[in-house]
Amino acid sequence: MLSFLSELKVPITNGLLLGGLYGIIGIGMSMIFGIVRLVNLAHGDLIILASYLSLVTMTLFPVSPLLTLIVVIPAMCVIGFIVQYYLLNRVLGKGMNPPLLVAFGLSIIVQNLLLLIFTPDARTLLTSISVKTLPIGSFLNIPVVYLVDFIGSIVTIALLSRFFNRTYLGKAIRAASDDEGAAQLMGINTKSIYAIAMGLAMGTAAIAGVLVGMTFTFYPHTGPEYLIMAFGVVIVGGLGSLLGTFLGGLILGLAQILGAHFLGPGFQLLSGYLILLIVLTFKPTGLFAKG
């Protein structure tokens, strides 16, 4: 029993760390789902767009990918604001389909723009920490980049939750997400609130994009993979809770790595989706849904 547990130390640690990355991939999607009631089908592609933006910044200034966040976060925030304000806001309140179609169109445009500019070659955000490992105890080696992913995710979510609970803007965003009409009656311009929320969500996508680029290789067509991951995180974690999204990421990460450990690497994705299916069957609102 004891040896069985110690054998699981490695996959559990890896699963949790990978789950942290999934958390940050899902958080922007969850925010927009909860606040604007919009399924942003372009979320994955916008994450990959951030990866490429980081790549470009790295070729211009030879710095570590993490430092490119100084450029990539504001750039993605502006892109998010513009996309919401000038594109998505126009189709909100016109039923389910128009916003979905606009987001889907955006996804195709981003993918093909990336393909056009960067060619279909595999890329990665090379950094010295990509190959380092951190020994913990005598038989546990943690890839440093996974640790960076995990910490980045926690810090982002902690900052976001502070923003939502402490600032005026954060409270206004929560109010608009609770009741758009009533929020307008309080003097809140909900359309610009939505644009700000999308800007924030894209800020988190920028962080996700840089972390993903440091951890895995990416191509112009990698976006949908992360969209599905984000979907999974949102479904498992439930809407309206930042912490829930993070925990949803952890559960998904654990499920994948443990599945791979017991059933073989081919089952990594499948075991994640099985958990998804189970949650959808027994608690379709998500495990940590609020209100």
Partner: protein, 237 residues
């Protein structure tokens, strides 16, 4: 007669294809309590929502403090000094009582005097201070109505629109809430109420309008209207 703060002239309002308000004109003088009475579906809430900017009149004008305001969005109307207590209270359920109030003074001008506004609201409704850290969804119906009124007061409005504030509340609670409305009005804030309860409105207003089938049928001071005329206008006889 005091200066008119709100002047609605000959407006028509459509709900999609439905002609909900026909050729309605009304005038609300500064510092008065004015009520619009009518049965369900008479168009009174539609009229109120149009003044708040939620709906747009297809023609006619709405002037507030001498300025034309039809076409403004609700959040812009708030900046002009019109605040609304919406029908069904419309709390932000996942925000605490205090947060609901804070969101009420979102406009930059009101935000500067937030602490003062919160203190005044607590004076008016002490129960809200006791419950300030609770989620608003845990409040009773009457407390929620108080919170909705307190929230609408936070932006220091000149005119408050009350949409059916007695709906679904116990008589004692209603009485209490109407006493607060009177107190609010005594501070010089103008009030325009929409109400189904004729007697309550006659007792608490300086002037009433009676609506039926989307039209204003009768207007006047409560003391000057006969019961017979009111009944006829209310039921459209």
């Amino acid at each position: 007669m005091a200066n008119s703060l709100l002047r609605v002239q000959k407006i028509d309002v459509f709900y999609h294809d439905f002609h909900a308000v026909w050729d309605a004109s009304l005038e609300v003088e500064e510092a008065l309590v004015v009520s619009i009475i009518g049965a369900n579906g008479a168009g009174k809430s539609t009229l109120l929502n149009t003044i708040a900017g939620v709906l747009r009149p297809s023609n006619g004008t709405i002037e507030f403090a001498g300025k034309k305001i039809n076409g403004l969005m609700p959040y812009q109307a708030v900046q002009e000094g019109i605040s609304m207590v919406p029908e069904g209270r419309r709390m932000f359920p996942r925000l605490t009582v205090l947060e609901n109030l804070e969101v009420g003074c979102y406009t930059p001008k009101a935000r500067k005097r937030k602490d003062e506004a919160i203190r005044r609201t607590y004076e008016l409704f002490p129960i809200l201070e006791e419950r300030k850290n609770q989620l608003s969804i845990t409040l009773s119906g009457g407390e929620q109505q108080m919170l909705a009124i307190g929230r609408a007061l936070m932006c220091e409005p000149r005119l408050i629109l009350f949409d059916e504030i007695s709906l679904g509340l116990a008589p004692l609670v209603i009485k209490n809430i109407y006493q607060r409305v009177k107190l609010i009005n005594s501070e010089g804030i103008t009030a325009l109420l929409v109400e189904q309860d004729i007697q309550r409105s006659l007792k608490s207003s300086h002037k009433v309008y009676i609506m039926q089938s989307g039209r204003i049928r009768l207007e006047g001071k409560p003391g000057e209207l006969s019961q017979e005329d009111i009944r006829k206008a209310y039921f459209g006889l």
